[in-house]
Symmetry: C2
Amino acid sequence: MKSKHVLLDHGSGGLSSQELITGVFLPLLDNPVLFDLEDSAVVQARGCRLAFTTDSYVVDPIFFPGGDIGTLAVNGTINDLSMRGAEPLCLSAGLILEEGFPMADLERVMGALGEASRAAGVPVVTGDTKVVPRGKADKVFINTSGIGVVASGIEISSAKARPGDLVLVSGTMADHGVTILTRRAGLSLDGGLASDTMALHRLVQAMIEAGGPAIHSLRDPTRGGIATSLAEMARKAGVCIEIEESSVPVRPEVGAACEILGLDPFYLANEGKCLALVAPEKAPEILEAMRRRPEGRDAAVIGRVTDRPAGRVILKTAVGGSRLMEPLSGEPLPRIC
Amino acid sequence: MKSKHVLLDHGSGGLSSQELITGVFLPLLDNPVLFDLEDSAVVQARGCRLAFTTDSYVVDPIFFPGGDIGTLAVNGTINDLSMRGAEPLCLSAGLILEEGFPMADLERVMGALGEASRAAGVPVVTGDTKVVPRGKADKVFINTSGIGVVASGIEISSAKARPGDLVLVSGTMADHGVTILTRRAGLSLDGGLASDTMALHRLVQAMIEAGGPAIHSLRDPTRGGIATSLAEMARKAGVCIEIEESSVPVRPEVGAACEILGLDPFYLANEGKCLALVAPEKAPEILEAMRRRPEGRDAAVIGRVTDRPAGRVILKTAVGGSRLMEPLSGEPLPRIC
């Protein structure tokens, strides 16, 4: 039954988000590129293949261990471009500011945004600033959109996974989600929890150089975590994805925090990690290329693609059992990014 | 003296906005394309010239005579692309929704957005939806970014005005601003006040066909009105712009509402109008091409470009006097778009 109001869960990145998008938005905005629902759209412009993506960042708190809303806004949008194999070209920054927001905080956010952009080598070329009265927004919201160029021959999409493919992940899971949630819960868990926010375009470039067309699908598991991203990939490609629970890298302090908070790290957001579904014959070279870069130091094979049950993700647990891993549902974790 | 907090005036599109952008943002984000501060950035992508722009829409109320936030978001971004002579290719839509926003209103907004996109022939190809808790945003904010293709030979920019150029405007002034302000003041002024929100890409295409390189500068006078847009053009090109007050088309009902509210129509927002600075020898053909299209039915010559005083706009008043027309300053009209 459709809700009569927007719920927090509609923004979770999980099932309710999907229902809102496919049930309400797509029929009203019908066009085949949007229907792809990839991290970026790929469009043709006079013989040039472009990737195009947009994300609004509303994370609370705006400063957190390992990053801030400005850094997140740059890296997140670069990553969405990278997941189509695009070389990021430029970014936009659209700010919505709340009246009374301290100028010093704004400078800190924009300084971090500028630094992330320079570190990534992807300039912010256009922007917009709106201010709304006190109480009509919360401090600062940032939209970053991005354009990338997709080299010819590169055809990476969630729908391209094939039985036999291996599932790679570029590093540890849930660092960002757990950091924001503990911070917001007012917990001070020791052990150096920090967001993993990081731009992945150079990692993806190295993967493409090593694997070329053997890289079938890429996805950055942000809202909803790897459980939700894998479920979307399985559904779109019409395949089954089997994950070995014990192979998924999770930092011990993140695992401990998840236990304390009763959270599953497979459903928590990452902001500097990617999933890759790749042809098995090239998997060793791709994994090796990932591990050679700092962004992929902890890369691992975590599972494989089979044919049935189509559209499902199966988690092989550490104790030898197996269960379905469903996309995130009914668990509103608002403002995680 | 720099404010320690963000003020409503920083979002007005006038002097304070400029100070925030040039004083705070540009030094932190330094790159030459952003420094242009045009309605869109023009960037090179593998031999393809692209225009790229972003705008966040926070208008209050979200439904108003003549339009709504969804229509505005599509047309406004198309217009920013058009002001560089680009052919709009595609749009993104990034939504920030407030928890509890009625689903029926969301459907109405997205339906209007889809309709505006189809009417313009510019598809929304990628999107993002965030939800923030009740009281952390106001109903719905929409960011639309857009990509356009700039044909070779087209070099339209605010800095290109030359003494001798004529100043054209595509229609009546202040319709959007006056409509939003009267609505927000709770006034019901009769006479059919309505927003002029409208996509201008086909009008600009017709102007380019008629005038080619004679079109030096285009600008859509949104926040801050024509006074602010003309001041920016005069400053960037290092020229003086003289405007004949009596030549500027203003609908009688808009003029009357401005008088009642004590507002100057030259400082109020337009959402379906453009200013053009064009070489005088081609001005008749360009004006004729504008008037042949419904978007330019009321097009008029409203002034001319001279050499001095450089960087200034001079208003020749109806009674024969003349005064400087300064950019908008200290007059916060928040959430006009």
